[in-house]
């Protein structure tokens, strides 16, 4: 796969006036990508794969990267409207809205609220539902070294992806920077995911009329694949694709499989 260079720029949203960062690359049909609680990876393999076939725009939520204004977003409706504002500002043409994990939760809310604005929806292991018999792992209490095994089927390869270009945890300055970045991101994510990632999406999913593809890693240890079935049942006419040898970071672990599924469906 040819390497794709993501370019990033700052945009100002209307009417909130919030300044956020958006990563962009590729040519083709428009695709809006919404990241999960961890934000974008350095050299994100999924964004690179998607950009070979689509014009990808990937806005970062406040608290992630150079996007700020996190104090202005508190609850699910704030996140949803903010992301709709970002989509409007990017002037995308009938985009496929792809959301991973927390981003999938936001994408599904957008589709439930702005029914006609989101016509093509792709949810990659989305958060947003809760099944008592299959509790979602409490990501907030996990220590950094525990994350690769929760996010990836191949924890060793995942660890390399996560720390690519990173620093040394024993260096106090790096550690401080890591803690600040982590607190900003997960502090923000906690507003819609803590302590239980259910903000009422279940009672709104039946409103979704978008053509919907759901993708789940068969080895997802964070949000078990049984949630894929729950989303499929809740969204009328949706399709569920399970990807073998992939964990929660299904797109980062199996970018080609996810790209193929999206191309085949839309």
């Amino acid at each position: 796969m040819p390497a794709v260079r993501m370019k990033s720029r700052l945009i100002t949203l209307k009417p909130s006036g919030m300044r956020i960062e958006v990563a962009e690359a590729g040519k083709g049909r428009d695709l809006l990508f919404l990241h999960g609680a961890g934000g974008h990876m350095l050299n994100d393999p999924l964004l690179a794969a998607l950009a070979t076939k689509y014009r990808v725009a990937a806005p970062l939520l406040p608290g992630y990267g150079r996007s700020d204004g996190e104090d202005g977003l508190r609850d699910m409706l704030d996140f949803t409207l903010h992301t709709l504002d970002a989509m409007a500002k990017l002037e995308l043409e009938a985009p496929i809205v792809v959301g991973h994990s927390m981003g999938g939760m936001i994408a599904a809310e957008m589709a439930a609220i702005a029914r006609t604005e989101v016509a093509k929806l792709c949810l990659l292991a989305p958060a947003g539902l809760w099944l008592d018999d299959h509790p979602v792992v409490d990501i907030f209490s996990k220590l950094p070294y525990e994350l690769p095994a929760l996010l990836f089927h191949d924890a060793e390869a995942g660890k390399k992806l996560m720390t690519a270009g990173g620093g040394d945890m024993n260096d106090p300055e790096f550690l401080k920077q890591f803690l600040v970045t982590n607190a900003r991101r997960l502090g923000m994510a906690g507003k819609i995911l803590f302590p239980i990632p259910d903000r009422g999406l279940a009672q709104r999913l039946h409103r979704v009329i978008a053509k919907t593809l759901i993708v789940w890693g068969q080895e997802d240890a964070l949000i078990p694949p049984v949630y894929g079935e729950a989303f499929r049942k809740a969204i009328p006419g949706s399709k569920l694709v399970k990807v073998a040898k992939a964990g929660h970071a299904v797109g980062q672990e199996r970018p080609d499989a996810v790209l193929k599924a999206i191309q085949a469906f839309f």
Partner: protein
């Protein structure tokens, strides 16, 4: 100086292999370990000790709030303080405090604190902690990044509720009340003295100065390591051009007094070890939920005592703990010297004395407490002569004539 005898009320029956068998004393420790019938005697022994502390001359007796843990068994410190209102008559009841962001509506705290102030005849010191991340976020489910905003709103509501003489409407983001009407109201006007437990959040310094609240640093790592943090506080006091009353600040200290230094180790060593190795055994993932601390605070490098130094405790000996002043222990003269150094170096007017430590049995608690009260405290009383051992803004104002109690059993 004001000395408050403070009880954490830990569960004293954690087994020897506790650290190996359990990852945390807080949040997910199975409560099958709690034995209610043993708990009955534990509670009453602890309450007896608080009452004893008043009888030997402590200025205050203190309780606090924690949840889902074996470290401190007071989910409701107000219940404990209520029992103490009946059996004590002089000491300040230092409730340090109620985690006001956790209550819905937070008016509940205004009401219960008012009840305590009225019951005790104006002896309440009210504490408003944010609460640890273990309590506030993991045990009580408050969203970490919204905790402080919720706290600020709850504080505003409580102060308004105490100040008002008529019902009013409160339209907060988190609490909406058409009729705020606090019955009863506290005896102490406009409010009982208020102490704010802080752990190095820089915003808290200003909050205390803005409202004339006393800043209380509750640390278990001793006064040597507290110096930097308290210097930050006093620097802020100077910047704000506030007066430098030592009663603007308080410090918690683990203290063990015996007849000699070596006797102290023999008597208290095992219980100190129980405290540092079992009571403070917190899983680091629960110590600091992302978003709980502000970015500014993380950037200044003030980390939670549970994340920062907790991991060293298993390897620390009695010698390490006492020489580095995590614990102030020894003969009355040793303890006096170290306490004086603590009080002067941190510039504090309030000491929260932790004289019950870990699984310490009652006779040792009373022995240590009595020695401190009789042989140490009198020598420390007047370390701030320019303030006459008192600052009206930061201590209780009991009513003059209180009703005589008729306790049925007596």
């Amino acid at each position: 100086m004001k000395f408050t005898w403070f009880h954490l009320m830990p569960w004293p029956y954690m087994p020897d292999d506790f650290r190996q068998k359990h990852r945390s004393v807080w949040v997910d420790l199975p409560n099958r370990m709690y034995e209610p019938e043993r708990g009955h005697s534990v509670y009453h022994r602890y309450l007896d000790q608080l009452e004893f502390a008043e009888s030997v001359g402590f200025d205050g007796i203190g309780v606090n709030e924690h949840h889902a843990n074996a470290y401190g068994l007071m989910p409701s410190p107000n219940i404990m303080a209520a029992t103490l209102t009946r059996r004590t008559s002089k000491a300040a009841l230092v409730v340090l405090g109620n985690s006001i962001a956790l209550y819905n509506p937070p008016l509940r705290v205004a009401e219960e604190f008012a009840m305590l102030d009225v019951l005790s005849g104006g002896r309440l010191v009210a504490g408003f902690p944010v609460g640890t991340s273990m309590d506030t976020n993991y045990a009580y489910g408050t969203i970490p990044a919204l905790t402080r905003e919720k706290y600020a709103e709850a504080h505003e509501l409580i102060r308004k509720a105490w100040a008002a003489d008529e019902p009013f409407a409160f339209n907060g983001r988190y609490t909406k009340l058409r009729y705020v009407n606090c019955w009863p109201k506290p005896i102490q006007r406009p409010a009982p003295p208020i102490f704010i437990p802080g752990g190095g959040s820089v915003e808290t310094y200003d909050f205390c100065l803005d409202n004339t609240y006393s800043y209380s640093y509750l640390s278990y790592s001793g006064y040597l390591r507290a110096k930097l943090l308290m210097e930050g506080y006093w620097k802020r006091v100077a910047e704000r051009k506030a007066d430098e009353s030592p009663y603007r600040a308080g410090f918690a200290q683990v203290i063990c007094v015996a007849d000699t230094d070596s006797e102290a180790e023999r008597l208290y060593g095992p219980h100190v070890s129980y405290f540092y190795n079992r009571c403070l055994h917190v899983y680091p993932g629960f110590a600091d939920a992302p978003g709980y601390r502000t970015i500014k605070t993380i950037q200044t490098g003030a980390l939670s005592q549970f994340t920062q130094s907790g991991r060293d405790y298993p390897n620390m000996t009695w010698k390490d703990l006492t020489e580095n002043r995590y614990v102030v222990a020894g003969s009355p003269e040793t303890v006096r010297q170290q306490m004086e150094e603590l009080i002067r170096s941190l510039r504090v007017g309030n000491i929260f004395c932790l004289l019950h430590v870990g699984d310490m049995p009652d006779d040792k608690v009373r022995h240590s407490t009595k020695l401190f009260a009789e042989k140490v405290m009198p020598h420390l009383r007047n370390l701030w002569p320019e303030w006459n051992n008192h600052d009206d803004r930061f201590w209780i104002h009991p009513m003059n004539e209180r009703v005589e109690l008729k306790v049925a059993a007596e």
